[in-house]
């Protein structure tokens, strides 16, 4: 089976070859985008991601065999334009976590309650991260990308990936586990 890099190479002379990359990566990319900014916008972002990638494919770095980090990077930049959608999605995640019924099992109730509360707080805390830190954190936690892959995706050195991830983790650990007030202003860096 051809690598993504080989497909992109061939597509320079045979453009339609590029379509195979959609089949390989679209579902995973779409889910990542949906998780960040909601499904309502995800279809358009996915479409634009592949269109942009196709238009820029002559600049793909063929030292990487996989194009997935590259696609994540394009999608992430497009997500940044959807700040309102992302904020709304994270607020929804916070409220959804708050509204979920914790299973009433004596064997697991304590762990379930902790997880439930933790997820709810995380949704709130994510909104407090800078967009750069949030990008790194979610690509690491949700998509299991390596530091190098995240660096390729976001166009930053691996060392910067590491430092942003550490900062994000520290903020999440140190964030107060108290309910936010309704009128708190959330700033996106």
């Amino acid at each position: 089976m051809s690598t993504d890099s080989e497909i992109i190479q061939r597509s320079l002379g045979r453009p339609s070859e590029f379509g195979e990359l959609f089949f390989r990566h679209a579902p995973r990319l779409h889910r990542y985008v949906s998780r960040r900014i909601g499904e309502a916008v995800a279809d358009d972002i996915l479409s634009e991601t592949f269109l942009l990638a196709f238009e820029k494919r002559s600049r793909f770095d063929h030292t990487y065999s996989s194009a997935l980090p590259w696609f994540f990077g394009i999608a992430t930049n497009l997500i940044h334009r959807q700040r309102v959608a992302e904020a709304r999605t994270l607020k929804l995640a916070e409220r959804t976590s708050a509204a979920q019924t914790v299973p009433d099992s004596t064997a697991t109730s304590d762990a379930a309650i902790d997880a439930h509360a933790s997820a709810r707080h995380l949704a709130a805390d994510l909104r407090k991260l800078s967009k750069g830190d949030r990008d790194v954190l979610l690509l690491y936690a949700w998509e299991d990308l390596t530091y190098e892959q995240i660096g390729h995706a976001l166009g930053i050195p691996t060392g910067t990936v590491r430092s942003r991830l550490n900062r994000a983790r520290r903020i999440l650990r140190e964030a107060p586990s108290l309910k936010e007030k309704e009128n708190e202003r959330v700033r996106f860096a």
Binding site: P15, S16, E20, F23, F54
Partner: protein, 350 residues
Amino acid sequence: MNEFDSLKSLRNDVPERSVEELSPSYTALNRAMLAEERALARTAGASASAGSDSRRSWFRSHVTPKLAGWSAAAAVAVTLGVVAAQVLTPTAPAVAAEILREAADNTIKYSDLEVGEGQYLRVASEEYFPHGFPADTPPAGFEETYQSPYSTTSFMYIPADRDESWVWDRSGIVIDGKQFSEGEFLVAKRGLFYEDTSDGIAGDGTVKYEGNLTLDRLQELPTSSGKAAYEYVDSFYDGGSVSRAEDNLGRILGFLRVGTATAEQRVALYEAIALVPDVTSSPEVTLSDGRTAVGFSRTEANRQDQRTEILIDPSTGQFVGERTLSADGTADWEALFTYSVVDEAPTSKE
């Protein structure tokens, strides 16, 4: 549980969509690819009618229910983009033929003729032999004329209830004004006209399938995707031809020749054609009767580069013809089909 574990579970309710569900997001990419293919073709000087450089993608959406008449406007819910001349290999995305949706030009629209109870689907076919009667030695009495072009016609009447009697009215062969062979008038249930030479005869002659094998297999054709249909077709390959691809394409042709393939089956079969190795397509082929069709073709190296071409009416998605062409592009044989619904079948030769 650390913060990463919690983070992983956040937004876990978001499912991963299938590629089929995401096909609307493919449209813009597909158009861009096509535009660039066309630009490259123009630069290379290739003609669009040769279909040698542009590629478009197959897609599937919904299948229409049976509707009366050929009203394309009422019937269209199934559309397929035409696979252009770019070769598809089995290693190319097998899912491509079944999932991509194209909203561009040259789509094939599908509809079914509705055959009511007691009515018949009438398939009129005309075969043209431009090089005359295929024989190494001339038949007696036709020494001077057996290589003259000739044509034959036939009318197949297929009842709404496939288990009832089919009628096949075949004209004889007339070569250069002289009757070469008499016609035939055949009646058989389920289209089993030549029972003693029906499908399913094993190489040792000991196995005989009791029925119309092609029709029965067509009725079991998976229609969920072109990939499923292709795998089904491929499953019957038993080494009959040294070329598995030729054998499979021939089997797909056999299903189309039955004349009863529904719109849903035709979608699957055309998508399966796209998965046969080395198939190319032409968006506009002019038939000898003046109609235009979409053509899918394949050249077989084991037969001196003879090309088999399958012809489809883009306005109905109906199989309207086939032909074989020599390596130099000249037609060796052509068969064209037209379809209609009639209230009764003849009881004797017309």
